[in-house]
């Protein structure tokens, strides 16, 4: 069984934000929530690098360890999903995620406890595949359609790779052989320790 992983090649990201837009559009993510974002370091200076960041679907996800009500689960493909019906909006996962993936929409009532939202690797959620409930809560289930996450599919420079971890790391290794290591596959070793890219 494939183990799904993201890889962002900081040598290739041109900060076009197509991944961000693709994600927002594909899943009809509401205003104020960004499941994916592009972070630029040393902006305008020598050594400028951009990286596309979202939930990395970590091998041993810290969010799962800190959730007091156990909303997270990992699919047999390694995708970390959560059940919004169970989420109590405590925000604890926000403090545990190195990648800043959990998003909390500002609730309209003054308790500010909106349900957590995050990247699903385009794999929907616990609702029935392709159901309205699944789309409204989690977005499109492209994996069930046999497709990969749209953010990576749309990436014009193929900086963002998504798919079977072995294949993704093989592609990256070939690049490294051809061009040198460069600034690396940001976040890979933290998300998938011991699985060198």
């Amino acid at each position: 069984m494939a183990r799904m992983k993201f890889l962002c090649d900081a040598e290739r990201c041109i900060e076009c934000n197509a991944c961000v837009t693709a994600c927002k559009n594909e899943h009809e993510v509401p205003w104020g929530v960004n499941r994916r974002r592009v972070v630029t370091i040393n902006d305008g200076k020598p050594g400028e690098r951009s990286i596309s960041v979202a939930c990395m679907h970590c091998s041993d996800a810290p969010c799962m360890a800190v959730c007091p009500v156990d909303v997270f689960y990992q699919t047999d493909q390694g995708v970390v999903l959560h059940n919004k019906d169970l989420c109590i909006g405590c925000g604890y996962c926000f403090y545990a995620c190195p990648f800043g993936a959990p998003q909390f929409p500002q609730a309209s009532n003054f308790g500010s406890r909106g349900k957590m939202d995050k990247c699903t690797f385009c794999a929907g959620g616990p609702e029935k595949d392709f159901s309205d409930a699944e789309f409204k809560k989690y977005g499109r289930n492209r994996l069930a359609e046999g497709k990969l996450p749209l953010c990576a599919e749309m990436c014009s420079t193929k900086a963002l790779l998504a798919g079977d971890g072995d294949q993704v790391s093989n592609i990256y290794r070939e690049r490294v052989v051809a061009r040198g290591f460069g600034s690396g596959a940001w976040g890979w070793s933290r998300a998938y320790p011991g699985q060198g890219a």
Partner: protein, 460 residues
């Protein structure tokens, strides 16, 4: 095997043999008799400068005030008139006052002796998650997920400066000595130093002290303000020189994000707690690791070192405040410590009961005792007028409402969502779009909240 069991087993192998724990405030008697203990996960613990009292903040919408004596915390009073979870608490030096920060973005100033609220400060646009108070007790600073730090004058009860600059949630704060410098850090990974002018009424960025790359969850100012200790989302624990911005020491951090930090009153010990369950205690004079223990039940959300440097109070993933005696160590018997989490029960087949256990029970009980949870007990809910249970701090909107809870109103509550059914309620977003699911929950509640059944639901 349940996820939680897997989680426990994953950390058990690293459990060191010497951990003496005492469990305090495990729910218990409900609101009518207030204090007793917290009814939801504890997120913050602080000890008073003299070490004789403690404050705790919890998901149960309350702050608790305790008398600390040895390994015992005796509850003195409970401040539950909040509209959201309490993420941070702080004593105000030189007074009998305390502060709490809530998930609704408000900061409350409390009179600990009278048990009353002195002021509620409003301004943050998202969760308020961290507090700092100047040494003279004149100014408080609060940090929020809205990316700002706000200052509050505790004498005039007026708002002070709003410090903007972080590009993400701000999670940690500390005043420098003298009170005219403030340090903040957050998810943008940047530690900022602010210069406060006009006695806190104005503030401006003095400098970026350090850019960590990964987000920073916790920080403390050490000694005379020349050093900062911070903990990151990458598990790093780093000592910084605040003047040069250089790293003095990178300590052996945590495998997972650092969630909590404390410095002993005399400044000689610093402790960190991580999402990996590890508690590490360093000697700040040479940064040697003095104590290291693995808490077997998951993340360590709050830490407070006792004044004698021999023990600490800390909180894990639930409503319990625990005591760890560092000197001398006491053995900790893992097998005798059950940590049943009612939310993680996967053996229930009744869908209504399962929904209640997994979702509703974090805030509600079914028995007459509400166990100090965030919401009122559901015991006898059918036929009860909304907002009518004595002793519970309802929102204004529920106090004004006149409808009766019955099958129809409960069904509409979950069909529309609380924020639409009774706008202004403290109840968080919660919808059940499937009518069959709502029916199953209502059927279960009818059985479980009736008198004979409810008496057997002590744990719910």
């Amino acid at each position: 095997m349940s996820a939680v069991a897997r989680r426990f087993l994953a950390v058990l192998p690293v459990l060191l043999p010497a951990l003496a724990l005492a469990t305090l405030g495990a729910g218990g008697a409900g609101r009518a008799g207030e204090p007793a203990g917290h009814g939801g996960p504890v997120r913050s613990i602080v000890l008073s400068p003299d070490g004789r009292h403690a404050l705790t903040g919890s998901f149960d919408y309350s702050m608790m005030y305790w008398q600390a004596e040895g390994e015992r915390l005796t509850p003195l009073s409970r401040f539950s008139d909040n509209d959201a979870a309490v993420s941070a608490v702080a004593f105000v030096p030189g007074s009998a006052h305390a502060l709490s920060a809530s998930d609704d973005g408000t900061i409350s100033l409390w009179d600990l002796a009278a048990g009353t609220r002195i002021a509620r400060f409003e301004g943050h646009g998202h969760k308020a998650v961290a507090l700092a108070v100047s040494a003279d007790g004149q100014w408080a600073a609060s940090a929020s997920w809205d990316s700002t730090v706000r200052l509050w004058n505790l004498s005039t009860l007026k708002a002070g400066a709003v410090l903007s600059g972080h590009s993400g949630a701000v999670g940690s704060l500390a005043f420098g000595p003298g009170g005219n410098t403030l340090f903040s850090a957050g998810h943008d990974g940047i530690i900022r130093q602010w210069r406060l002018g006009g006695a806190g009424a104005d503030g401006e960025l003095e400098k970026v002290v350090y850019s960590h790359g990964w987000g920073v969850n916790v920080l403390k100012v050490l000694g005379n303000g020349t050093q900062i200790l911070f903990g990151g989302l990458d598990g790093a624990v780093v000592v910084l020189d605040t003047v040069t911005g250089k790293v003095i020491r990178s300590l052996a951090g945590h495998e997972r994000p650092v969630l909590s930090m404390d410095v002993s009153p005399d400044g000689t010990l610093a402790a960190t707690g991580g999402a990996d369950g590890l508690i590490q205690v360093w000697d700040t004079r040479n940064w040697e690791l003095k104590f290291k223990h693995a808490f077997p039940y998951g993340p360590v959300w709050a830490i407070a070192i006792a004044g004698d440097d021999r023990s600490m109070f800390f909180a894990g993933i639930n409503e319990k405040v625990l005591h760890w005696q560092m000197v001398p160590d006491k053995p900790f018997d893992v097998t005798s410590k059950q940590v049943p989490e009612r939310f993680q029960n996967s053996e229930i087949t009744d869908p209504g009961e399962l929904y209640f256990i997994r979702t509703c029970s974090i805030c509600h009980t079914l028995a007459p005792d509400d166990a100090n949870r965030a919401g009122p007990t559901l015991h006898g809910i059918f036929g009860r007028r909304v907002g009518s249970l004595p002793g519970y701090h309802y929102s204004a909107t529920l106090k004004r409402a006149t409808f009766i809870w019955n099958e129809e109103t409960i069904d509409r509550l979950f069909a529309l969502g609380p924020e639409k059914f009774v706008p202004g309620t403290k109840m968080p977003l919660q919808r059940m779009v499937d009518a069959q699911d709502r029916k199953a929950l209502i059927e279960y509640l009818k059985r479980a909240t009736a008198e004979p059944a409810a008496s057997q639901q002590k744990d719910r």
